[in-house]
Amino acid sequence: MDYKRDIPLAITFIVGVIAIGDYYTGIEAVTQTFNVIKNWGIVLQGFALGLGAVNLFRVHGRRLSARKEGTDWYFSGWLLLMLVVFIGLGLVTGEYEQGATYSWLYNAIYLPLGSTMYSSLAFYMAYGAYKVLRARNFDAALLFITAVLVIFGNTPIFPAIYPGFFHMREWIFGPIVSGAYRGVRIGIGIGAVVLGIKTLIGMETGYLGRR
C-alpha cells in the first residue's frame, strides 16, 4: 500500500460520500458529521488562501535577490513591499480589514485598480464588436443578428422611440436563450457529475499532483 496516495484517496471518498449522504438521507448522525466536515472545510479554505502569497514570495523574492538586468526586479520589490504593508496593517492592529488605515489604503489603491481593470474590458468590447461582429459567414451572421438586436433593446433611446426594440430583446431572452442554454446546462451538468464520481472513486487523481 502506498500511504502517500491511498490515504488521501480514502479521505476524498469518505468525505464525499458523507456529503452525498447528508443530502439524500434523513439520518441524523450523517447530518451531524457533515456539519463538522463543513466547518473544518471552511477553516482549511482559510489556510489555503495563503498559498498564492507564499508562491509570490518565492518568485519575486528570487527575482529581487538576483537583480538580473531586464527583469524589472524593482517592480518585484515594490510588489513585495505592498504585500507586506497590507499584511502588517491587517494583522498588527488586530482589526484586520476593518482598520481605518487599512480601509483607507484599500479604497485608495485596490478599489480603483480592481474596478478599473475589470471594467476596462469595455474598451476591448467596443473594439472587439467593431472588428468581430461582421457577418462574414453563416455562423458569424447568426451571432451578429441577435447581438445587434439585443444591443438595440438594451440602449434606452431605441425602446423610447419604438418599444418593439425592447420586446424583441425580451423575446430573444425567452425561447432562444432559454432553449439553447438549457441544453448546454444539461450537458455541462452531467459532465461535472461524471467527473465528480470519477474523483470520488479514485479514477481522477490530477489533484494529487506528481507521483
Partner: protein, 260 residues
C-alpha cells in the same frame, strides 16, 4: 423520519447509475469499443503550431486559471490534455511553446506533462521551464494583464486557449486577434463561450473540449467517460421528447416521476 429524503429519490438513483455507467463505459473504452468523433477545431491546432514554425514566432497555450479543487476541474484536465498534445507538436515541429501558469496546484502537473512530451520527442534539452511555463499570478486581472503584456512583446503566431476562462477571455481573444495570431479557443464556462465563438478562428463549444481532451489523450478511461455522459444525454433527449409529447396531450407523467 424517512431514511431517504422525499423528492430526491430519482436524483439519487441517477447519481448511483452514473457510477455504474462510468465503470461499464471505461471497460468498453479499454476494449476499444468506443470511438469519439473528430472535432473540427482539433485539426486547426496542428495548423496553428505549423504556422508558428513557419513564421518563427512562439505559440501560446493557455489553460486558464482553474484549479483541481474548484468545480471547473474537468475543464482544467481537458486543457492539460491539450497542452500535452500541443507540447508534443511543438517539440516535433520546432515551435517555441509558451504556457503561462496561474495556479500553484496545476503548475507542477503542467510542467510534468510538457516535460514528458518533449522527452518523448527527444528534445528535452530545448525546453526551458522557467521561461516557457512562467508563473504570472493567481489573481485574475494581474494574470490577465501579465499574459497580454507577454503577448504584446513576444507577438506569437498562434494561440490555443482551452480550459476554464473567466472575464479575461475577452481580453485574451481581442489582444491575440490584434497582433495577428491564429486562435483556437474553447471553454465549457457558458459565460465565456460567446467571445471565443466571435473572436477565435476555431471555437470548441462547451463540452467539445472534454471530447477533444479525451480524443488527443487516447486514454481509454477518458474516452469511456465521454460515452457515459452520452448515455445520459440520450436519456435526457428521450425523456424530453416523450415527456413533452405526453404533456401536450395533458399527461404529465414524466415530470411527476422525475420529481420523486
Amino acid at each position: 423520519m424517512a431514511i431517504l429524503t422525499p423528492g430526491r429519490i430519482v436524483p439519487l438513483l441517477a447519481l448511483i447509475l452514473v457510477w455504474v455507467a462510468v465503470y461499464i463505459a471505461i471497460n468498453m473504452g479499454k476494449e476499444g469499443k468506443i470511438k469519439v468523433r473528430r472535432i473540427a477545431g482539433l485539426d486547426a491546432i496542428e495548423e496553428v503550431v505549423g504556422r508558428s514554425v513557419e513564421m518563427g514566432r512562439p505559440v501560446f497555450d493557455i489553460i486558464g486559471m482553474g484549479t483541481f479543487t474548484d468545480s471547473y476541474a474537468t475543464q482544467t484536465v481537458a486543457g492539460l490534455s491539450i497542452l500535452n498534445y500541443v507540447a508534443g507538436l511543438s517539440a516535433r515541429l520546432g515551435a517555441e511553446l509558451i504556457a503561462p501558469q496561474a495556479k500553484v496546484d496545476v503548475m507542477p502537473v503542467a510542467i510534468e506533462l510538457v516535460r514528458d512530451a518533449y522527452n518523448v520527442e527527444g528534445k528535452l534539452d530545448e525546453l526551458n521551464v522557467d521561461e516557457q511555463l512562467p508563473y504570472l499570478s493567481g489573481t485574475q486581472f494581474a494574470w490577465a494583464s501579465g499574459i497580454i503584456g507577454m503577448a504584446a512583446r513576444r507577438r506569437p503566431a498562434g494561440n490555443i486557449m482551452i480550459g476554464p476562462f473567466w472575464a479575461e477571455s475577452m481580453m485574451f481573444a481581442e489582444t491575440f486577434d490584434r497582433i495577428g495570431a491564429m486562435q483556437v479557443g474553447g471553454t465549457a464556462r457558458t459565460y465565456q463561450i460567446p467571445f471565443f465563438a466571435a473572436l477565435c478562428d476555431y471555437c470548441l463549444i462547451g463540452e467539445e473540449i472534454f471530447a477533444a481532451g479525451a480524443y488527443v489523450s487516447g486514454d481509454p478511461a477518458q474516452i469511456g467517460t465521454i460515452a457515459a455522459q452520452d448515455w445520459y444525454k440520450l436519456a435526457a433527449i428521450a425523456l424530453s421528447i416523450v415527456g413533452a409529447l405526453l404533456s401536450t396531450v395533458g399527461v404529465n407523467i414524466i415530470a411527476e416521476l422525475l420529481s420523486r
